[in-house]
Symmetry: C2
Subunit: 199 residues, 2 copies
């Protein structure tokens, strides 16, 4: 016996989401049937709306309803600094800090030979063009993840931008705030020691 | 800075699913934006369709497009046996075995004083009525989960049905096929020993 078609299709749809296998998808599908009709309808609408109404900003590549995005369009922001991140959600994390007032550039990925991702697959060309057209940017802060791919991508971009003579920095590596030295891995400890500051 | 509204709403919708927290929901929402438009549309349609086209069978409580469900409507099935399960997905698991040809009854939950679920919240009254109206059922197989709540529910139903004089059985407890004795818990080992069979 097969699942009735409507639920089989829903399971299939849930399985397309990242990290969702057959069992979770089945659980979610059965759960959906027991949800309020209004919740299911608004879920379906939000799916359609997220796909239809959201675009990537033509300047920075961040996710946005309007183009340019509200950060690029905001004249009060500090246009001398630009943070380069991997994903739109990294912009949100940095904005939550409420400390940084500069601009962003979203790469939409990292260099990854294993996945066959080269510089042309990332939003790098537009970054270079942006720097060529905009005289105001004085510092590029590379905020790719602290992973091998993130490091390689940061290194690649810093070398690419060197001839332009713009200051290029990288976020500091070290112990997470609130973490125990006992549980820190060797590489993090090494970076924390290397980057020690006078108090 | 807040997420753009379409994605904030989608994150909220994903968070209503079981086992999905803020981080997974955010990951799924951003993933959705990068999905093919056709996949997102069919996802939204399958949500609506699962909610609109699926109902509970008026006889057994299983999930179905037609009423009665294809199992209740199937005249070739053995109408002398009836398996009682907690959820519609348990019916699917038992059907996958391709061994059982009888009928089902879905309780839609278990007795749980902690969650304030009593006999009236389960599909029990209809089970009793079904047995009163149907003379053919000779055995009730209680296939609630092997959890304290599942056991208590099985016990409750078996006592409830005792006056009717119908044979009531419970699925066997023991070692899972392919499992190691070394890793089995004490209760399972105890049940396996208690229910040992001659070879």
């Amino acid at each position: 016996m097969q699942y009735p078609e409507p639920i089989a299709k829903l399971i299939e749809s849930y399985m397309k989401l990242p990290g969702i296998g057959m069992k979770s998808a089945t659980r979610m599908a059965f759960y959906t049937i027991d949800m309020d009709e209004s919740d299911v309808t608004s879920f379906a609408k939000s799916l359609i709306s997220a796909k239809r109404d959201l675009h990537y900003c033509s300047i920075c590549g961040n996710i946005t309803e309007s183009d340019p995005c509200i950060i690029c369009a905001d004249k009060t922001r500090d246009r001398s600094k630009l943070i380069v991140v991997e994903q739109p959600r990294d912009v949100m994390s940095l904005e939550k800090m409420r400390e940084y007032q500069g601009l962003y550039h979203v790469l939409h990925g990292v260099l990854s030979p294993i996945e066959g991702k080269g510089p042309d697959d990332l939003n790098i060309t537009s970054l270079v063009k942006r720097l060529q057209n905009d005289e105001g940017i004085k510092e590029i802060i590379l905020a790719t993840n602290a992973t091998p791919e993130g490091e390689a991508t940061a290194m690649y971009i810093s070398r690419l931008l060197k001839p332009a003579g713009i200051k290029t920095t990288r976020l500091a590596h070290g112990l997470s705030v609130g973490s125990d030295i006992e549980y820190a891995d060797e590489m993090t400890l090494f970076k924390a020691l290397e980057g020690r500051t006078e108090i």
